[in-house]
């Protein structure tokens, strides 16, 4: 097995262009064609000179790649080396999820080649002696099993991955808040429980490549783990932490129970919602620290409870927070970590104050002047939930019914549970079978989020499930029998009429 693998690797190496001894720089015509395309599509962010000094660069985080730096994160080459042409191609073709770099599936192969040749003119290294990088081998992946995953976990711990990525892989390791990249920007370790956010790709090969090459410029080093089986075991472990794709929901089902407790919550399936930055009110133009939130809901005869869970790098319980705090408009992006403890983590659930008539709903950003919203708000620095009424993002005031709150932070994950009386005069009720519009907001104190600078969702629904569902057996039997009768009837009729024929 091993032999076959290394044979294959040798063959692959022999076929690779690196042996040609000359870096592939393309013809002048190709580079010129690449330049035209680059200036039309890429220069907005990566800069006319490839130095990421461009109009778009100021607004995108992570910042666009500076091609003149000769530092590239996504490679199949040894740490510190330049990327291969195929690496650049892959980055262009597939883009990077959750960054400003989109995939470019419409570009032709020739277009991408031309772009690669042109991009390589920005740094002299590409045409120099380093222009022929040393590739790593990616052997064929062995099959996955429970053992390899368990072994992967051991490798994960042995190699101190937990220091940054955290014990649960949620990106909440003890050194995570201190990490910065080569340009002194704060950088977060990847949340391994959300594989779809991996910028270097989320297939097994992609993950293998990531930790074998390291991500140059970032604190992620290259690992040389031996034996090779252990490398794949680590991959298998990471893959086992999450699904391929986020299973985003459109509704939370509030399950009827007799008593609200943790066991009941654990028994209900969670609904996952994507959190995105607030893009409307002043305080927009930032990137939220939280990317998704998970919700569960329960109802009893007189109570309703919503449990929210989300991954946070660090629990900020110092300072304070609120949905109505003013935001400094000029501040666009927190370049360095803000650990001053000014803002605490916070979360809010939003419902319309009154059941909307028809399809018209309050504006999703804390309501509007005409229709208000209820905010169930928890400043996680404190032990109690607060109720706010919102008539627009600039018009939020405390008030409304009492809320119960339980919140805890454990291994990179916040869990906050709100409870409220099921029916409160003047506020939205949770009638059986109703779809109650709901939206969520979450503030990451570490990211200096407060007031309107927050991660949010637009409207989704809480479906209040019916406690006693009618048994389907009766109608099933009834309709089935009727159909049978009809069939037999037709048959009898046909036989009688045509049996002579």
């Amino acid at each position: 097995m091993r032999r076959a693998l290394s044979m294959a690797a040798v063959l692959a190496f022999a076929a690779s262009p690196a042996l040609a001894q000359e870096p592939a720089l393309g013809t002048q015509a190709q580079r010129d064609a690449g330049k035209v395309l680059y200036e039309a599509k890429c220069a907005h962010c990566h800069g006319l000179n490839g130095d990421a000094d461009a109009v778009g660069a100021a607004y995108l985080r992570p910042a666009p790649r500076d091609f003149t730096s000769s530092t590239f994160k996504f490679r199949t080459t040894m740490s510190g080396e330049l990327p291969s042409d195929d690496d650049i191609r892959r980055s262009i073709r597939e883009g990077m999820p959750t960054t400003g770099m989109p995939p470019w599936p419409t570009l032709s192969r020739a277009d991408v080649d031309n772009l690669v040749y042109y991009i390589k003119t920005f740094a002299d290294d590409f045409s120099g002696p380093f222009g022929i990088p040393e590739m790593i081998e990616i052997p064929k992946a062995p099959s996955v099993s429970a053992e390899t995953i368990a072994r992967g976990r051991e490798v994960f711990v042995e190699n101190q991955c937990v220091d940054c990525h955290g014990n649960g892989g949620r990106g909440s390791g003890k050194s995570a808040p201190t990490l910065t990249d080569q340009w002194d920007y704060h950088i977060r370790p990847a949340d391994l429980t959300k594989r779809w956010t991996f910028r270097n790709g989320s297939t097994r090969e992609d993950i293998y490549r990531t930790f074998n090459t390291g991500l140059d410029g970032s604190p992620m080093p290259a690992y040389e783990i031996e034996p090779i089986e252990d490398r794949w075991a680590l991959v298998d472990y990471v893959v086992s932490l999450s699904a391929d794709e986020p299973n985003y929901a459109t509704a939370v089902v509030a399950t009827p129970v007799t008593e609200i407790n943790d066991a009941a919550f654990e028994a209900t399936p969670p609904s996952l919602f994507a959190i995105v930055g607030q893009v409307v009110e002043p305080g927009r133009a930032f990137y939220p620290g939280i990317s998704a939130i998970e919700a569960r809901a329960l109802v009893t005869a007189d109570q309703v409870a919503v449990q929210l869970r989300w991954n946070d790098m660090i629990a900020d319980t110092r300072g304070m927070n609120g949905p109505d705090l003013p935001v400094d408009e000029t501040e666009r992006w927190i370049g360095a970590p803000d650990t001053s403890g000014t803002f605490s983590d916070a979360v809010a659930i939003q419902f319309p104050t009154e059941t909307p008539e028809g399809v018209e709903m309050p504006y999703f950003m804390f309501g509007d002047r005409k229709s208000s919203v209820d905010l169930w708000f928890a400043d996680l620095a404190g032990p109690t939930g607060q109720h706010y009424i919102g008539n627009g993002s600039g018009n939020v005031r405390a008030g409304g019914p009492a809320l119960g709150l339980r919140a805890a932070y454990d291994d990179g994950m916040w869990t906050a549970t709100f409870t409220r009386d099921r029916n409160v005069e003047g506020h939205i009720g949770f009638d059986e079978g109703a779809f109650v519009p709901v939206a969520f907001s979450v503030w990451d104190g570490f990211n200096a989020e407060s007031g309107n600078r927050r991660g949010l969702t637009s409207w989704y629904y809480v479906y209040v499930d019916v406690a006693e569902k009618p048994s389907p057996v009766g109608p099933m039997a009834g309709y089935g029998f009727l159909t049978l009768l009809l069939g037999v009837g037709i048959t009898a009729f046909m036989r009688r009429k045509y049996s002579g024929a």
């Binding site: 995108l60 459109t250 893009v279 709903m361 779809f435 309709y479 089935g480 049978l484 046909m494 045509y498």
Partner: protein, 270 residues
């Protein structure tokens, strides 16, 4: 497109040809072939509303075919009668008599046990714009006001380039988060919104519209959508709160410039 399913459907139809079945079997086979094609052959699957309509049309067409010739009518009638009366078909008949009620019962079961879907509303994607909008106290006539900088394209390319550049700045400052770097509606935050942000690369969006329409949508955003476009789930901000009129016209120039498209021209009466 799901090539495997399509090939399977074709294979079944070809195989059926060799069996030389009656016209009724053919009609049923065609019906199911189209049904399978719509539901499984096309990826992503066709929404139920459209499948229902397709199947209605196919049903009408098949009925028309069977009844269009006396011979086929007779053949269909005879084979139906044979199916119900002949000994040869006794077992299939019994299977059908049992299977159909079971299918009905299953349908009842699944409709009673699945979670109801959130209220869906057919949104109007391109609602008609008002004739005029008020922009910071000024009335903009959407029908007759053209982009005041569009003419620079022919008159003064340098000034035009400046406006496009300004539009580029406005775009990256405000729009890129959702509409994306490639203007394909796949920005950073796009996945968090429903409806998803407009894809300007799609030739059925901005290329179909006059610039006044874009001005209206940009200036008034989601909150300014007319009732027929409810539910107002659109996260598009009302940019009149943040941008000047010139900035909006400039960013419109940039949208067309970047996507290599041209606004729909005003048509002149002959």
């Amino acid at each position: 497109m799901n090539v495997l399913v399509i090939l399977a459907i074709i294979a079944v139809m070809v195989a059926l040809r060799f069996l030389k079945p009656t016209i009724v079997v053919w009609a049923i086979a065609w019906w199911f072939a189209v049904f399978a094609m719509a539901n499984y052959g096309i990826d992503p699957p066709v929404p139920t509303s459209v499948t229902n309509m397709f199947m209605a049309i196919v049903t009408i067409a098949l009925l028309a075919y069977v009844t269009a010739a006396e011979g086929r009518m007779r053949e269909a009638g005879e084979s139906l009668v044979a199916f119900f009366t002949s000994k040869k078909y006794f077992i299939p008949l019994v299977i059908m008599l049992v299977a159909v009620p079971l299918l009905v019962a299953f349908n009842v079961y699944s409709s009673m046990t699945t979670q109801p879907a959130p209220p869906a509303a057919g949104r109007t994607i391109h609602p008609p714009p008002p004739a005029t909008v008020s922009f910071k106290g000024r009335t903009v006539d959407l029908n007759n006001d053209v982009n005041p900088y569009r003419h620079l394209e022919d008159d003064d390319s340098e000034a035009f380039a400046q406006h496009v550049d300004n539009g580029r700045r406005v775009y990256y400052e405000n729009c890129v988060y959702c509409h994306g770097d490639n203007m394909a509606g796949d920005g950073h935050f796009a996945h968090g919104f429903n409806p998803i942000p407009a894809n300007f690369q799609d030739p059925t969006t901005i290329a179909m519209l006059q610039e006044g329409y874009l001005f209206w949508r940009i200036a008034k955003g989601g909150p300014g959508l007319p009732v027929e476009s409810t539910p107002w789930a659109s996260a598009m901000p009302a940019w009149e709160l943040f941008l000047s009129e010139e900035e909006i016209w400039d960013v419109i120039l940039f949208l067309y410039d970047f996507t290599d498209q041209r606004p729909r021209a005003r048509e002149v009466h002959e």
